[in-house]
Amino acid sequence: MNELEQFKQTFFEECDELLQRFEEVAVTLVAGANDAEVLDDIFRTVHSIKAGAGAFKFQRLATYCHEFENYMDLVRGGKLQLVEGDPDLVVQAGDILQDLVNAARVGVEAEAALEDDILEILRNKTGAPQSQGGSDDTAEVSAVTTSGFSIKFRPHRAMYETANEPQLLLHALASLGEMTVSTDLQALPDLIKLDPLEGYLAWSIELRGEGIAEDSVREVFEFVDGDCDLEISALDAGVDEADSAPVESQAAEIEPAIVPGNAPAADAKTVAAATQSTSIRVDLERIDRLVDMVGELVIAQAMALDSLSELVDIRHVNQLQALEDLTMRTRQLQEGVMAVRMQPLKALFSRFPRVVRDLSKKLEKNVRLELEGEATEVDKTIIEELSDPLTHMIRNCMDHGLETPVERTESGKPEQGVVKLSAEHRNGRILIRVADDGRGLSLTKVRQKAIDNGLIDESAELSKEEIEALIFMPGFSTASEISDVSGRGVGMDVVRRNIQKLGGRVTVESDEGKGSTFTLALPLTLAVLDGMLISVAGERFVVPLSTIVETVCPDPSAIRQLPDGGSVMSIRGETIRLIDVCGAMSIDRSGQPEPLRKLAVIVETEFGRRIGLVVDELLGQQQVVIKSLEANYRNIPGVAGTAILGDGRVRLILDIDGLSSMDVPRHDAGLQTKSPSDTNRVASGGQSV
């Protein structure tokens, strides 16, 4: 890639960010209220894109931006009031801007006349007030302009470092009027002391000409602001006052006129300066490579620790300390690298006001979207993968969940429906909820649908939860007629599959008549996990540490067998289900001695339910690098993923929620328990052909 291409790419990345921000703020516009901050934001976006488009000679984009910018400038300056329809106009104009940017990016010509309609409207809006307010403008201009300016310009080293060329700036100034320039060589040192990278020159410029606005002079220096000393003072325009005074008095006069324009510009600068110093753009691939490398490092470090464990002896206290130190630092390094990938959910959530706004029009429903917990940070990959499922769920809520305004009023609800999107951290996982206050799931309808679609037997007896879970089954769709909003043949099963791919889980809770809540539980990151290593019949497994509540060695009297083959345990008055890891993981115990006393690891599922995992032994705590089982194979019930341990072997990470909802292996009284290989064959019946 040549340099220009690289700059272009950077430009487009910036465009993406700017447009995203645009999207975020534009929907907050309302008719009748010119929100200065929002308008400035939008103006800046358009302005920045225009500048880039100009530089890269995307003529059509630049022209469009120019017109759009003109309009925004008038609006933010308060010369145009936003009237009914204008906020939509801005949003639409943003869409077209996005289209034009996209077209420029892929290097094709955007659809002909794509922007013509909107430009026409914008021109109409700007045109009238411009001519009528023209007098306004000129009045302002006359207040701002003088017969010219005296400019002192001293570039700093930083300005040269950012590849700005004073000569070009001077040329630009010369185009504004008649210019005389003198160079100030005072700072120039002896040749021997001269640092070729330092900037020593300064210029005094006198710019003369009628009607030059100070703004246009400042604009010339816009991109070097902060990297140079710049003094711009008006030449006295024949004002009969003392030499220094008029500038001041004039400044005072000018102030009200130029503040709206100037303050945000300065604002933009600080923003630009701040981002410049605090962030850099890095290719995601590089970060991923780093994450992988650190992952390998963690494994290597665990291996080293493993092989040196015999050192645990007072004679090797120094070595042990060094090892301890290494462990700590490895961990910090890993945390640091992982943090690079973390991003607030805001970037994702901010898309939805727009989705809801557009959709509520289409569906003719009055819907308010509430966002909560946008600052919650999640791994970037997860954020990217969440966009489609969340969009789908929100659409679903609006289309199927929420009633029409008439229905709502009839059932005594406020006409405006609420969709709430929230996020929070819990137990080392992130929970994202999409809730609506609509009609909720109709259990009878869902059940009937499932029977009609052959998903369940007519005689099946299902609990409320089981019926609700049916909507995630492939081939289930509640929309009786396919609407163009959410009935595109993609159902909640796809949502569930996408979420599962991320190591997450989706559940629904519903209250008929009151609304439903979909909950996504996702891992914070896809890369590492604090685990407890356990052993069962000679096999080792990893239990996510975040799920473990406590470990007990239950008294046999505290355990009761259930008729279905499972068992329960009583602990401090609470009865919890026990899950035998050996059975659930179909381990062949023959040849393995039963431990004298089994342990129960009490774990908590995402939704606060406690279960006890029956294991033989706890082997210790270890941080493990998660490797997906699905990358080369497929998801297995009860297994959340795999981890590569210090010895290089792969171990399975137990999926607590999966285990807790797994069927107890059934065996009828009187019959022998199925041997593991039997269960194998039963479970694999569908696949072994």
């Binding site: 369940i456 089954m473 179909s586 089982l629 194979y633 497929r634 795999t642 590569i644 792969v650 194998n680």
Partner: protein, 175 residues
């Protein structure tokens, strides 16, 4: 061939790959049970000696488990067992042939790698229709060598259960 020899031979064959005549393809052949099988050399990623794998719960018998291959976790399929034979009694001399299919990598447990074959397409006989359906699905043809028949494996079909989209395999309807 031991795993090392097989790797060398494969590497050499791939390096010489350009010299194969048009219409000719190279195959890696190996034995599993008493039979000879072959796969397109371009789908072979790696050949390594057998090491202990981590078994997976509630999976078909021929899925021996998973293995760590430089940070990636791959399923290991017992070829003999997959094709209806019994479980392979593994020793250190057994070999895992790692093949790539779609964007996945899968290891095939076989007895030994036998040869690199240069085969022209017209030498490969189609699978006669009288064969049982199971076989017809996983072989793409037969190559009759001087003294024996080599079955060409259709990896996609052979591993369809392992590489299938999840929706097909994971959900058992509520009864």
């Amino acid at each position: 061939m031991t795993a090392e020899e097989a790797v060398l031979a494969t590497a050499e064959a791939i390096a010489n790959g350009r010299e194969t005549a048009p219409g000719q393809k190279q195959y890696v052949s190996f034995t599993a049970g008493a039979e000879q099988y072959a796969v397109d050399i371009m789908s072979v990623r790696e050949i390594k000696g057998w090491t202990e794998v981590t078994s997976l719960p509630n999976q078909p018998e021929h899925v021996r488990g998973v293995l760590n291959l430089r940070g990636a976790v791959l399923p290991i399929i017992d070829l003999q067992c997959r094709l209806g034979g019994g479980l392979t009694e593994t020793t250190q001399r057994h070999v895992i042939v790692i093949v790539a299919i779609e964007d996945r990598q899968v290891g095939l447990l076989v007895d030994a790698v036998s040869d690199i074959l240069d085969v022209s397409d017209d030498k490969i006989q189609p699978v006669p229709e009288t064969n049982s359906r199971e076989d017809a699905r996983v072989f793409s043809g037969f190559l009759t060598d001087e003294d024996q028949m080599v079955a060409m494996l259709d990896l996609e079909r052979l591993l369809s259960a392992e590489i299938l989209d999840q929706s097909q395999s994971e959900d058992t309807p509520v009864q």
